[in-house]
């Protein structure tokens, strides 16, 4: 099986606190994967591990079969952080050119791609304004554009709809579907369970640093009358009961 993202028995600790406790996760290439869990469950730590931003105490992380410590692995990932923070003194054009240079996008292609992406996220008109003048939603759109600048195979999105208005959310959903049809792997963490239900092929629910449920949305909800939101709440409560 060809996996885009893989965590094997991943353990991450900060001091005495274990954030990820032997986490196993497999994301197939080309699928849209929803990563769900309550606050503090270990979603962001998992994402940071997938990006090579933190070193696990034990276990293994693979991105398209390669450790994320290797730049070649990160070349295949586009990352959209939960809270989009960029160099406030730069304009959208400069931001995208900067990240394009870092990713080694060929210069002629980069110029075309910047225009294409800024038009796609509806920021072409403000391309020469410094980011410090932007709202949260506008910055989030730039964030999406930077994640796509090098045309990555896999997108890792941390709460991608956070800060977006309903129309922008709808646009994002439609864009993610398009990207999925282009064969991109999309891994996103979200609190918006209805969104995950609407978009994802597969979901995983994480609690206390462990995956407590994973599978396709249909198989997870099979034989149950309620929706993903109800299922999620029940699963978390059951896991709490089990823990007690």
């Amino acid at each position: 099986m060809n996996y885009a993202l893989e965590c094997r028995a991943l353990r991450v600790s900060f001091g005495t606190k274990t954030t990820l406790d032997g986490l196993d996760l497999k994301v197939r290439a080309g699928e849209m994967f929803g990563f769900l869990g309550p606050n503090g469950a270990g979603k962001s730590t998992t994402i940071k591990s997938l990006l090579g931003l933190i070193q696990p105490a034990s276990g293994e992380v693979l991105v398209h079969g390669v450790s994320p410590d290797h730049p070649s692995a990160r070349r295949r990932i586009g990352f959209l952080p939960e809270e989009a923070m960029y160099y406030r003194f730069l304009t959208p054009m400069e931001i995208l050119r900067f990240y394009g240079d870092i990713c080694g996008v060929e210069r002629g292609l980069l110029t075309r791609r910047i225009e294409e992406l800024l038009k796609l996220v509806g920021m072409w008109e403000v391309r020469n304004r410094q980011i410090k003048t932007f709202s949260k939603g506008m910055t989030q759109k730039i964030s999406l554009a930077q994640a796509l600048i090098h045309d990555p195979d896999t997108l890792i999105l941390d709460e991608p709809t956070s800060g977006l208005d309903p129309i922008a959310r709808m646009d994002l959903r439609s864009l993610l579907k398009d990207l999925r049809h282009q064969g991109k792997t999309i891994f996103f963490s979200s609190h918006e369970l209805s969104e995950a239900e609407l978009l994802c092929d597969t979901i995983a629910i994480i609690k206390n640093g462990k995956i407590i449920k994973t599978g396709s949305v249909e198989s997870v909800l099979a034989g149950k009358e309620h929706n993903l939101e109800r299922f999620f709440i029940d699963t978390i409560k059951n896991a709490d009961g089990g823990a007690r």
Binding site: G52, I54, Y86, Y87, D101, G104, S143
Partner: protein, 259 residues
């Protein structure tokens, strides 16, 4: 690799000029230089030499303060503003980030120093009626070496210290070495063995910023340095740049980020 490093360096240069640090330093530099040029030292022969020394010292001080401040805040501000996570999620190595930060800080500071130096040279030309060109070029180039070491020291230390502590330590070391660096070696001779070896090791490990200070030679129009000696000083500066960046990278390579 060059493209990634230059992208990071360009970012630092843009920040330096858009955040207006340089213009503030330039304003104060010009005001102080103009003020110094109006001071009258009665009954002192060769008064222009004092004025030249003041002018050159101002150019050095402003550039050093600007350079250490800019370099010291690079990594901490990436962490604080949460931009480091996105940057490191791209195919760039942590040493490349550090080297880019160093190169950008150095280039921005060197540009500022060039402006200060040109102003100073114009001022010196007016006061002294001419300039020893070879010495002027050597003074300029050697101080650029000092700025490179200073920028590397600040970037390297920024992996260990807060910005304020970093600027304090860097500037303290810079000014102390410029003032006392030349006398340190003779002081170690008075210490008995084996303490002398320890002091000698400390002396060797410190970056000798005073080696790059040509002010006295320039002002008194002494003979210029040989090309070989300038090359040795360039190698000395390059060595310290690599040592400081490597020490910084050693800590930074494992540092967590706030994505």
């Amino acid at each position: 690799m060059i493209r990634r490093i230059s992208a990071v360096a360009r970012l630092v240069i843009l920040e330096a000029f858009r955040k207006k640090d340089f213009y503030v330093a330039l304003f104060f530099g010009v005001v102080l230089l103009a003020y110094a040029s109006r001071i009258e030292f009665y009954q002192i022969s060769n008064v222009h030499r004092y004025l030249l020394e003041i002018g050159l010292a101002l150019a050095f001080i402003f550039s050093a303060v600007l350079g250490s401040g800019l370099a010291a805040r690079q990594l901490p501000s990436e962490l604080q503003n949460r931009t480091l996570g996105v940057l490191l999620s791209k195919p760039i190595g942590r040493f490349e980030v550090m080297f880019g930060k160093f190169a950008g800080s150095f280039a921005a500071t060197a540009a500022c120093f060039t402006v200060f130096f040109v102003l100073f040279a114009a001022f010196a030309w007016m006061k002294a009626g001419g300039l020893p060109m070879v010495l002027a070029v050597q003074t300029f180039v050697l101080f650029l070496f000092a700025l490179a070491v200073l920028a590397a020291l600040s970037v390297g230390l920024s992996a260990y210290l807060t910005t304020a502590a970093n600027v304090l330590v860097t500037l303290l070391l810079f000014f102390m070495m410029n003032i006392y660096g030349g006398t340190l070696l003779s002081s170690t001779a008075q210490v008995p063995l084996p303490g002398r070896y320890v002091l000698w090791a400390v002396y060797s490990a410190l970056p000798h910023f005073e080696f790059f200070d040509m002010r006295t030679r320039f002002i008194h129009d002494w003979p210029a340095l040989s090309a070989g000696l300038v090359a040795c000083l360039a190698a000395y500066a390059a060595l310290f740049v690599m040592v400081f960046l490597t020490l910084g990278w050693f800590k930074f390579r494992k540092a967590g980020t706030t994505a």
